[in-house]
């Protein structure tokens, strides 16, 4: 899988919670750069980090991440 296949709504949900990248990074214990690269679809996070991000943003993980172009490609809302 490439980073291009994995869509995310990180930026939108982060904005909804008024989190900066640095604040979200601190909440899940990674660097701000990690959040930035996930948000910009440069880096695919591990399952553990995906779950931590979903927990920090108080949404199910499938609402935060979705596959593009295929089954399960639509983000749930």
């Amino acid at each position: 899988m490439t980073a291009g296949n994995l869509g995310n709504r990180l930026k939108e949900l982060r904005a909804r919670h008024n989190f900066t990248q640095a604040q979200l990074a601190e909440a899940v214990g990674v660097t701000r750069k990690t959040i930035n690269t996930v948000e910009n679809r440069v880096f695919i996070p591990s399952t553990v980090l995906a779950l931590k991000l979903a927990a920090a943003l108080q949404v199910p993980v499938e609402e935060l991440f979705y596959l593009e172009g295929g089954e399960g490609s639509t983000p749930s809302s």
Partner: protein
């Protein structure tokens, strides 16, 4: 969090300096090997190379000591795990893969060269060591600095 950013920047700077000074140190040593191989006997050149090896070796030891102290400081800070997060591990793995490929290609090139020139074994080993060490560190720093498409709030 500003502390983390600062530590990441310090680590990148330290790794860059380590790689560059190592390159000068071992590069000068390699130059000494080459002059010996070519039986080049200009005393001032050989003396300059010896001096460069000695000075850069001392500088490298100093930077290594500072890096060791920096790593102790990081271990003692609450950000130790954050600094080795999964993106960092991913970048490390990519840098090692890059260096591995570079060393393999260099070995193939040197193997071809030995058909025409008989290279001394210690020179070959030194070249491969320089490539492995320097390319891993510099590529890691480049990966760490790359990839920020946009910085969000």
């Amino acid at each position: 969090m500003a502390d983390v950013e600062q530590l990441v920047a310090q680590r990148n700077r330290a790794l860059t300096w380590l790689a560059l000074v190592f390159l000068v140190w071992q590069g000068a040593w390699l130059a000494g090997d080459i002059t010996e191989f070519l039986a080049y006997e200009e005393r001032s050149v050989n003396a300059a190379i010896d001096m460069l090896v000695a000075v850069s070796g001392l500088v490298f030891a100093g930077i290594m000591y500072r890096y060791w102290r920096f790593s102790k400081k990081v271990e003692a800070s609450p950000h130790a795990d954050t600094l080795s997060d999964e993106l960092t591990a991913h970048n490390e793995a990519k840098a090692v893969r890059f260096a591995f490929m570079l060393v393999l290609i260099s070995m193939a090139v040197m193997l071809a060269v030995t058909a025409f020139i008989e290279l001394p074994g210690h020179m070959v080993v030194r070249i491969l060591m320089i490539l492995a060490v320097v390319s891993t560190q510099l590529r890691f720093v480049m990966f760490e600095r790359d990839g920020e498409a946009e910085v969000g709030g």
